[in-house]
């Protein structure tokens, strides 16, 4: 599968996700700079990596969401190309409007950096096909602004449509309904604060993250 990683000034997980994608797909992803206005053709996945794009100026992900390449990402998402936003990538996805809601400062005000248990809420998506619904997995988080917010009507809609992919098993950052990962309506866009690319080999302490990429590869094959 051909994949692309979008690189912004201030991204710092772009190499981690590139290593994860190469390890699972056997193919080096295309690294696409934020100033590009076109994406490579035939992509099976576009990844928006973690980090601090544009120094988190204005709001986390706000400036990145208005960059030329993200316009192309939004168009590709509209055509059904799978898009995965991790951490800052999730913040960017909400700022583009591809995903509803917003990510705010952690309720405890602290930067949270640790392994957290998650519950897989659905296996009915290309991103969670490698898991069982209701399964408990462990993926690390590292963020200051992961407190997911949406109004009650939006939350009810998301839940009703089965679009919560992952939920924190315990309180982490104040997120509404402990949402850790969220799908769009069509199911081809996933935003999540935890970092699956940091759990892809035994040396990382586990491989629960690897299963996201393996499941995706199999689901879109």
């Amino acid at each position: 599968m051909k994949t692309a990683v979008i690189v912004f000034p201030g991204s710092n997980c772009d190499r981690d996700i590139a290593v994860a994608l190469e390890s699972v797909t056997g193919r080096k992803p295309e690294m696409v700079w934020h100033g590009e206005s076109e994406l490579p053709s035939g992509l099976g996945l576009i990844a928006l990596p973690g980090g601090f794009s544009y120094g988190d100026y204005l709001r986390c992900g706000a400036i990145a969401a208005r960059s030329p390449v993200v316009k192309a990402v939004v168009e590709a998402a509209g055509r059904g190309v799978p898009v995965l936003g991790i951490c800052n990538g999730f913040q960017i996805l909400t700022e583009t409007g591809l995903l509803p809601g917003a990510l705010m400062r952690n309720a405890g005000l602290n930067f949270v950096c640790r392994d957290v248990p998650l519950t897989v809420e659905t296996s009915q998506s290309i991103f969670t096909a490698g898991y069982d619904a209701g399964e408990s997995i462990v993926i690390p988080v590292a963020h200051h602004d992961g407190n997911y917010f949406a109004d009650a009507a939006t939350l009810d809609e998301i839940e009703g449509e089965g679009r919560v992919a992952f939920r924190y098993a315990a309180e982490v950052n104040g997120s509404s309904r402990r949402i850790a990962g969220l799908l769009n309506k069509a199911g081809n866009v996933l935003g999540m604060m935890p970092h699956p690319e940091r759990r892809i080999e035994a040396a990382h302490g586990g491989t629960d993250g690897r299963r996201l990429f393996e499941g995706l590869l199999e689901a879109v094959a």
Binding site: R66, A102, M104, R105, A107, G108, A150
Partner: protein, 80 residues
């Protein structure tokens, strides 16, 4: 033309930073501070020909995230 754009959190959106500031004020001995909400102010110097619609669009498209924030535009009166 000088503009001031004031961006504030919507009612009902929790503001952990405002809460921390409120506690810090209490810690300094200021009593009776019932609530603090943190926001942002942008000072813009734009061409006089800039339309109201364009200014509003700047707010909606970038300066404010209307999912969580409200914005208010103040125009500084031109020198007499």
């Amino acid at each position: 033309m000088k503009l001031r754009i004031i961006v504030t959190l919507k009612n009902g959106v929790l503001d952990p930073q405002g809460k921390a500031i409120q506690h810090a004020l209490g810690g300094l001995g200021f009593e009776g501070v019932d609530d603090v909400r943190a926001g942002k102010i942008f000072e813009l110097d734009v061409a006089d020909s800039t339309s109201d619609a364009a200014i509003d669009e700047m707010c909606r498209k970038l300066l404010a995230n209307t999912v969580i924030e409200n914005y208010r535009i103040e125009r500084q009166s031109p020198p007499a």
